[in-house]
């Protein structure tokens, strides 16, 4: 099968998705939405890896994307546990409420 899409366009899309995710992390204050935006940034990185893997005909890039997806899964478990824990303490979903490092 011959690829029809240049890798540069795929990576450009990945950059755009990364930027949108970064805007979400920086602008929103609901930790759940910030977290989903961060997931989108992981996804964009995986897309860039797979785009370059197709460009260079190397499967190591797909290996990296595999690593990224697994990391995202582990991160979601820990992150959501933290969000639930903070919510049980503060009873609000707002990152500005978590402004001190006291236990």
């Amino acid at each position: 099968m011959i690829r029809a899409v240049p890798a540069g366009d795929v990576v450009a899309l990945a950059a755009a998705l990364f930027a949108v995710g970064a805007v979400g992390v920086l602008v929103r204050k609901n930790p759940l939405i910030m977290f989903m935006s961060a997931e989108m940034m992981w996804n964009a990185a995986a897309l860039a890896f797979i785009g370059y893997a197709a460009e260079w005909h190397q499967m190591q890039g797909q290996l990296m994307a595999f690593l990224i997806i697994a990391t995202a899964a582990a991160e979601v478990g820990i992150g959501l546990a933290l969000i639930v824990w903070v919510y049980h303490k503060k009873l609000r979903l707002d990152v500005d409420d978590v402004s001190e490092m006291k236990g």
Binding site: M1, R3, A4, V5, P6, A7, G8, D9, V10, V11, A12, L13, A14, A15, A16, L17, F18, A19, V20, G21, L26, V27, R28, K29, N30, L32, I33, M36, S37, E39, M40, A46, L47, A53, E55, H57, Q62, L63, A65, F66, L67, I69, A70, A72, A73, A74, V76, G77, I78, L80, A81, L82, I83, V84, W85, Y87, H88, L93, D94, D96
Partner: protein
């Protein structure tokens, strides 16, 4: 190429939806759309196994986890986000993030090699090829992934144990995983 553009527009629109949605549950649904379009991209880029893994892990596991937590924490509540904070923080951060994205995309397009005419090796990106790679030269990555997931599971257990801190009655906290 037309398919690529349609998919790219869908994926980007879903991404904007994630950021712009008012409630977390809408964000989660948009994120599912984003994830599924990315899986189709992986298929276009000859990454069959990664497309399947993307749908199974993201749409199947991660988003279900998100929806559980969203329903657990925000059911029946509608909260406006408070807007105080550093003045101009939103505008400035949005501007900087978009500038960075445009620069990165520009570099990616500028140094693109164009469509490849070289055919892929047979089995490129398929499940057997990925398996050979993961259990052969890439076994370190597989071991690291296993260790990382185990650590994450332990961390979730530690974070969610019922603690009596004296201020609130100890209660059984829901395990999000």
């Amino acid at each position: 190429m037309v398919g690529f553009i349609i998919l790219a527009v869908l994926s980007f629109a879903a991404a904007v939806g994630v950021v712009a949605a008012r409630t977390p549950v809408h964000s989660a649904l948009y994120l599912i759309g984003n994830v599924v379009t990315l899986a189709v991209f992986y298929l276009l880029l000859n990454a069959e196994f990664m497309a399947a893994a993307q749908v199974i892990v993201y749409a199947g596991a991660i988003m279900v986890l998100f929806l559980f937590v969203v329903t657990l924490l925000t059911a029946g509540k509608e909260e406006r986000e408070r807007s105080e904070g550093l003045p101009g923080q939103r505008a400035l951060s949005g501007f900087l993030a978009i500038t960075a994205g445009v620069l990165l995309a520009g570099v990616a397009v500028r140094y693109s090699a164009g469509p490849s005419v070289r055919p892929f090796a047979s089995g490129y990106g398929s499940l057997p090829a990925m398996g050979r790679l993961l259990w052969g030269p890439g076994f370190d990555y597989l071991a690291v992934v296993a260790l990382m997931l185990l650590t994450a599971a332990l961390a979730v257990l530690v974070l969610n144990r019922a603690v009596d801190d004296g201020r609130r009655p100890a209660k059984v906290k829901e395990d999000p995983s």
